[in-house]
């Protein structure tokens, strides 16, 4: 997955449109505030208005520039097709699942499942062997979860939710 300034692709244009949409949501909140110099002073909407205006202009310029670029090629994996899309989606879903699990079932089960799945997925992508990936995942899950508990709870006496319903 390229991280540098890349050639044009549908995602470049989609992201620019996403920024425009997000900026419009931001602008809708500015409209609910008093105008910047309504009281003679630069109020809470002063800087947001400037930023919002700037982002509109900048993103429109970026969109124009992107549309003039050539199209890009995609990257594949040896064992997982379309890993460039599937991997990030899975990582986001697992992290979201961890936060939910952390809140509802506590640190220990949530951290174990999360770290085991993350480690398992990375290893499966690397060697394509499901059994080996699962074993590494379970071992990683146990070790990392135990380390986190020792580090946060035992060493620094911090509170972590532990199996609370």
């Amino acid at each position: 997955m390229s991280t540098s300034s890349s050639p044009r692709s549908a995602r470049q244009i989609l992201f620019a449109l996403l920024l425009l949409a997000g900026n419009t949501v931001y602008a809708s909140q500015i409209l609910q505030m008093s105008r910047p110099f309504a009281t003679g002073e630069p109020g809470p909407s002063f800087l947001p208005s400037l930023l919002c205006g700037f982002v509109y202009v900048a993103v429109v310029c970026i969109l124009g520039a992107e549309l003039r670029k050539p199209a890009a090629a995609a990257e594949g994996s040896d064992h997982v097709p379309r890993v460039g899309l599937l991997g990030p989606v899975l990582a986001i879903a697992l992290t979201a699942g961890f936060i939910l699990g952390f809140f509802y079932v506590g640190y220990l089960p949530a951290a174990f499942v999360y770290t085991a799945l993350i480690a398992g997925c990375f290893n499966f992508e690397e060697n394509g062997k499901l059994r080996r990936a699962a074993l590494i995942g379970v071992a990683t899950g146990l070790c990392v979860t135990l380390f986190g508990w020792l580090f946060f709870v035992q060493l620094f006496d911090l509170y972590l939710p532990l199996w609370e319903f």
């Binding site: 800087l47 900048a58 994996s77 890993v83 991997g87 936060i99 951290a111 480690a119 690397e126 620094f156």
Partner: protein
């Protein structure tokens, strides 16, 4: 005063005091290097334990954490492309590029060497010029502070690689994120969509975790293993300890004077309230690029860039303590907690502290000096361990980073909502990266946004809306001219040269 400083060093010879220094240093290394954990958190966690400690021991330990924490942010930045602390963000750019080039050992060695130079410079200035220099810092008025923050924002934007427009947009996004929550000057919420969670705004820690750790996890999940840098590093022969010693030729290439200049810049910025290590490293990096022998290498693996940012962020350590001890003004979160440590022991930071209780404070000065030297020793001792960070199984590594980062957010905020914020910012950062928008300006926008807005609005309130206040103050005018100078030298000048050459 010289005799008291010597006494401070002699106190470190006491085994218990020295152990506190080593313990603090190792804690700072650990917290600084782990993404999501910071030296600030380490010192905050230590605060309750200082009750039972001798005040000199407490200050020595805090000094060890502070110095090591500022340095350690670059370790995971260089090896894994995830800065352990915001101050390591700009080091990451060149450091990780060097790592990918197979020069990880030299990058870590040079980073430690520059940090040591920065730390030592900061302490020497702290000892020698504490009172007079902090008086100069106090001359900065609100418009001057605004111009300083503007200088940082502009330089961060223009030194980023790639499209200037995308870099500026990323900065604007960071500034927008910083506007969420309670208005810095009026008791009213902004962009909270009626949610009480959003009223508290986006904390710095979830933002840093999201922009770097979560973003890196997501990015790595989408990268086939054969393309990851871990394999390239694994193919290299195992480094020996002496590989971490920067060669004389390399030190000459970077220049000791350049490192000292960056260190002094770090000290000066550290003295300003709100200055901080991040701002110092960014400004020193921009200044180093302006005067570099090979400015075109900046961002692609430049030792000059790496050294400048590292020297400056450790120089901040000595600088930030000057206004704290002499005027009772903490400039950042760490010095604010040191303020608390002093108060807990009945010492009031301010002009009388150095005259009445210098003996209590002098071991801390000595500890900062020794901790600066320990930075270089630490890379020789632990350098091979740092490099192995990139050789360990990717699955194990990113499972660990994912867990420790998200739980680190919870441990420092006790808010599930802030964990969601970290994830959301991570997804945004990933999209920014994929589409060629640099992430570092967004981070600086989040960090500097509150100061930028507050100083801007305060200045305009004072001037009744007249923006000429920024050019009528001499310090502000100089800073604005410096900003224009940076824009000319780093963007317009090279662009005109390129156009003329085409």
């Amino acid at each position: 005063m010289a005799a008291q400083i010597v006494d401070g060093f002699l106190m470190l010879l006491h085994p218990v005091t020295f152990l506190y220094l080593i313990g603090g240093f190792l804690l700072g290394l650990l917290f600084g290097a782990i993404p999501g954990l910071t030296a600030t958190l380490a010192i905050a966690l230590l605060l309750p334990f200082t009750f039972s400690m001798d005040v000199a021991d407490a200050l020595v330990m805090v000094a060890g954490i502070y110095m090591a924490g500022l340095y350690a942010g670059s370790i995971t930045g260089i090896t894994l492309n995830i800065p352990g602390a915001p101050s390591g963000a700009i080091t990451t750019v060149d450091g990780h590029a060097l790592m990918k080039r197979g020069e990880g050992a030299q990058a870590l060695g040079m980073s430690a060497f520059a940090s040591t130079i920065g730390g030592l410079t900061g302490v020497v200035i702290l000892i020698a010029l504490a009172k007079p220099v902090s008086s100069v810092a106090l001359l900065f008025q609100t418009p001057d502070k605004f111009s300083l923050v503007l200088l940082a924002i502009v330089t961060v934007t223009i030194v980023s690689q790639g499209s200037l427009l995308k870099s500026a947009t990323a900065m604007a996004i960071g500034l927008m994120i910083a506007t969420v929550g309670i208005d810095p000057m009026l008791p009213e919420g902004r962009f909270d969509f009626g949610s009480y969670n959003l009223i508290e705004g986006v904390n710095l820690l979830p933002a840093v975790i999201g922009l770097f750790a979560v973003c890196e996890l997501i990015a790595q999940a989408g990268m086939p293993a054969r393309l990851s840098q871990a394999q390239a590093v694994a193919d290299l022969p195992a480094p020996r300890r002496r590989d971490f010693l920067p060669s004389r030729a390399r030190i000459r290439e970077v220049g000791l004077f350049a490192m000292l200049r960056s260190s002094v810049l770090g000290v000066l910025i550290g003295m300003l309230p709100g200055g901080g290590a991040s701002m110092a490293s960014f400004i020193a990096y921009a200044e180093a690029k302006r005067s570099a022998k090979k400015p075109e290498e900046f961002g692609k693996g430049s030792y000059e860039g790496l050294s400048a940012s590292e020297a400056a962020n450790n120089g901040v350590c000595g600088g930030a303590i000057i206004p704290l001890l002499t005027m009772g003004i903490p400039g950042d979160a760490v010095t604010a907690i040191i303020f608390g440590v002093l108060l807990l022991h009945g010492l009031v930071p301010g002009p009388t502290l150095l005259s009445d209780n210098f003996m209590v404070v002098s071991p801390m000065f000595a500890a900062l000096f020794v901790a600066s030297l320990l930075i270089f020793v630490s890379v020789l001792l632990f350098g091979p361990v740092y490099l192995r960070l990139s050789r360990i199984n990717r699955g194990v590594l990113y499972a660990f980073i994912g867990m420790i980062s998200m739980v680190g957010v919870y441990a420092s905020t006790f808010s599930i909502f802030q964990m969601w914020v970290a994830l959301a910012i991570g997804v945004l950062a990933m999209l920014l990266r994929v589409c060629g928008y640099p992430v570092v300006p967004a981070l600086m926008g989040v960090i500097l946004g509150p100061y930028f807005e507050e100083f801007l609005r305060r200045s305009l309130i004072v001037s009744k809306g007249d923006p000429s206040i920024f050019v009528t103050s001499p310090i502000s005018l100089v800073l604005l001219l410096l900003t224009l100078g940076f824009i000319w030298m780093l963007r317009i000048g090279p662009a005109r040269k390129a156009k003329a050459g085409a």
